[in-house]
């Protein structure tokens, strides 16, 4: 029973990170019908922004070596990563995806792969391929309850992820921009006919998605301190599987999918088949695509001729 709860908690914590990334995938797909291959690498960018941000912070506050953990620093680094990734998301959309709006789908897909590789190998080129150690942003405390051991990190991950999902929920369902985003994802052309600045909404969607990925990157760095330029590939793929599982284009679906994948992974990892832990997300993805491509919450859209 205890291992069950332990696995569950681990799974939900990891799944929240996947959910944050999956939200970016699902929002971009909902609007542009484009799978943003590069999104996992935006997540990596967020982690590295946090890493270098911490170094800059240490220098700015005249500390030698790694900066001392504090809540203020954590907040500043989070904001910094969000700004960096948001900016990148905006530039990505403007430079790489917007000119291909009317081109065949394969061109956008190839460009997305190109951006992804640009981030991965550019990261290797600029940062070096060796793994770096993410600084400790907050002091680590062990928490024991009901026989489960957990660190305060997992609680922080849960709370921060929930907070940002709540903010996203407010934006999408409680603001004019959000209504515009929903309209554009429903039908792009009609939305523009209704006076919605679709270009701006698309840019906003990319920015929001990238900001969430940045948060995920910082949370990931907090939980698993080893970061390297290729770290975005696996979480990106798993988050994509999560988005598809929940129904791609569906925002609550992405959250549910992320948590589900996190939990399933945790249970597989704690079982006899632990070496298949990384592959299970792929299996889920293929099974979903073969048997229920619209996902858990998506609607099956009939293809019109």
């Amino acid at each position: 029973m205890q291992t069950l709860l332990q696995n569950l908690l681990n799974g939900i914590a990891a799944g929240s990170i996947y959910a944050l990334i999956a939200l970016g995938y699902t929002m971009v797909y909902g609007i542009l019908k484009l799978i943003n291959f590069a999104h996992g690498d935006v997540f990596m960018l967020g982690s590295f922004a946090g890493y270098y941000g911490a170094q800059w912070y240490a220098r700015a506050t005249h500390q030698s070596g790694a900066p001392a953990p504090s809540w203020g620093m954590a907040l500043i680094i989070l904001l910094l990563a969000m700004v960096v990734c948001g900016l990148f998301g905006y530039l990505n959309e403007r430079i790489a995806y917007r000119p291909l709006r009317n081109a065949p789908r394969i061109a956008s897909l190839i460009t997305a792969i190109g951006v992804s590789f640009f981030l991965e190998y550019g990261g290797q080129f600029v940062f070096g391929a060796d793994p770096k150690f993410f600084p400790t942003l907050i002091d680590k405390h062990l928490i024991n309850f009901a026989g489960i051991t957990t660190t305060n990190y997992q609680i922080i991950v849960l709370i921060v992820a929930l907070f940002f999902m709540g903010v996203l929920q407010y934006i999408v369902y409680g603001t004019k921009f959000g209504r515009a985003m929903r309209a554009v994802s429903f039908n792009y052309e009609t939305a523009s006919l209704m006076g919605i600045p679709t270009d701006r909404i698309t840019s906003l969607t990319f920015v929001i998605g990238s900001v969430l990925a940045a948060v995920a990157g910082i949370l990931f760095g907090l939980s698993y301190p080893k970061i390297d330029p290729l770290m975005g590939i696996m979480p990106g793929l798993k988050a994509f599987a999560a988005a598809v599982l929940g129904g791609i284009g569906n925002i609550p679906g992405a959250v549910v999918g992320g948590i589900l994948i996190g939990v399933i992974e945790a249970f597989v990892g704690g079982s006899a088949y632990s070496s298949y832990r990384d592959g299970i997300a792929f299996v889920i993805l293929i099974v979903i695509l073969l048997f229920r491509p619209s996902g858990l919450f998506g609607r099956h859209q009939k293809e019109k001729v």
């Binding site: 000119p99 081109a103 190109g114 640009f118 994509f240 592959g279 993805l285 695509l289």
Partner: protein, 339 residues
């Protein structure tokens, strides 16, 4: 004429004669660094097989396959398995002489074909799910299958697993590489001009319309995957017997991506484009290595330059060098315009 196949047979004999002659003449050329260029020539040949075979799936049939490296791995490992465990020990027991050479080549051909067939079976299994998936999703699934194949080989101990498969007999030479390069090109050309090829093009242009016109899109999509992966398997076998070593890490997604780059650069659907792009993109890493040494860079900028070039290419000329047309069609148009 009655014996229409005589013309083909004659062409085949001529082609083989030319290849044999070249395979002796080229290494003997008194150019400095010939061994180095020869290596590039062999790599170009293998890349031609890869690019033209992927062009059948992506260019002619319009499917989006990102898992070509996986098929290469299947062909490579299986042919290496056959030669290492069966053919080579058998040959070692024979006395040296022309008999042995002939037998070696026969076994090599057989092993390569077996590798190709096993890759074709893998292509069949990957092609089946393709029936239900649209472009983006198909791409992800083929990517996933490519990775799964790689992980499978990572876990097979008999062929080395993570340590890799070393000791593969290095039987690849100029003749075999370019024999199969020519074979791939000829098959691809003949295929696209046949009724099967017309079906591929119909599926590419508009799947629903093709189905409405009675084209069994299912059958033809799977056919494209099978034929393309067959030749990818051959390329894998050629690579295995050239490097004399195989490792699952050689067949990661980035290899599939490099092959895709060749096909996209040449023009999706253009055979001559794929060939030209294969040549260009085989030379490029060598040239970029010179760039790295010139600027004394710490890390390898090759993939960064590749990805930037790809993004620029997609913005400026997404149809690639030749678009969907072939070199001879473009030249013919030039000449017509020039008159």
């Amino acid at each position: 004429m009655r014996a229409w196949w005589l013309r083909d047979l004659g062409a085949l004999a001529l082609g083989i004669a030319v290849l044999v002659a070249l395979s002796y003449a080229l290494p003997a050329l008194p150019i400095q660094g010939m061994a180095y260029y020869f290596r590039i020539i062999i790599l170009i040949g293998i890349n031609i097989v890869l690019a033209v075979s992927l062009n059948i799936i992506n260019g002619h049939a319009g499917q989006f396959s990102l898992g070509h490296a996986g098929f290469m791995a299947v062909g490579g490992y299986l042919s290496a398995f056959v030669t290492y465990f069966y053919a080579n020990p058998f040959l070692d027991a024979l006395p040296a002489g022309p008999q042995k050479v002939v037998l070696q080549n026969v076994f090599f051909f057989g092993a390569l074909i077996l590798g190709g067939l096993s890759a074709a079976i893998a292509g069949y299994m990957v092609g089946l799910p393709s029936l239900r998936l649209r472009g983006d999703y198909l791409a992800i699934v083929t990517l996933g299958f490519g990775e799964m194949i790689r992980v499978v080989f990572l876990n097979i101990d008999k062929t080395g697993g993570a340590r890799g498969f070393s000791g593969v007999p290095s039987w690849t030479n100029f003749f075999w590489v370019y024999f199969f390069a020519m074979a791939t090109v000829v098959v691809s050309l003949r295929l696209v001009r046949s009724s099967v090829g017309r079906a591929f093009l119909a599926v590419r242009e508009d799947e629903i319309a093709a189905e409405a016109m009675g084209v069994n899109t299912t059958r033809y999509k799977v056919k494209a995957f099978v034929i393309g992966s067959f030749f990818a398997g051959i390329a894998g076998g050629l690579t295995a017997h050239y490097l004399a070593y195989l490792n699952p890490d050689m067949f990661k997604f980035i290899l599939s991506f490099e092959i895709i780059m060749m096909v996209v650069l040449g023009g999706l659907g253009s055979i001559s484009g794929s060939i030209l792009a294969a040549i260009i993109l085989t030379f490029l890493p060598e040239g970029l290595r010179a760039v790295k040494n010139w600027f004394e860079l710490k890390n390898d900028p090759r993939m960064v330059i590749y990805s930037i070039a790809l993004i620029v290419l997609m913005r400026t000329r997404p149809q690639g060098l030749f678009g969907r047309r072939e070199l001879w069609e473009i030249v013919a148009r030039w000449r017509k315009v020039a008159k």
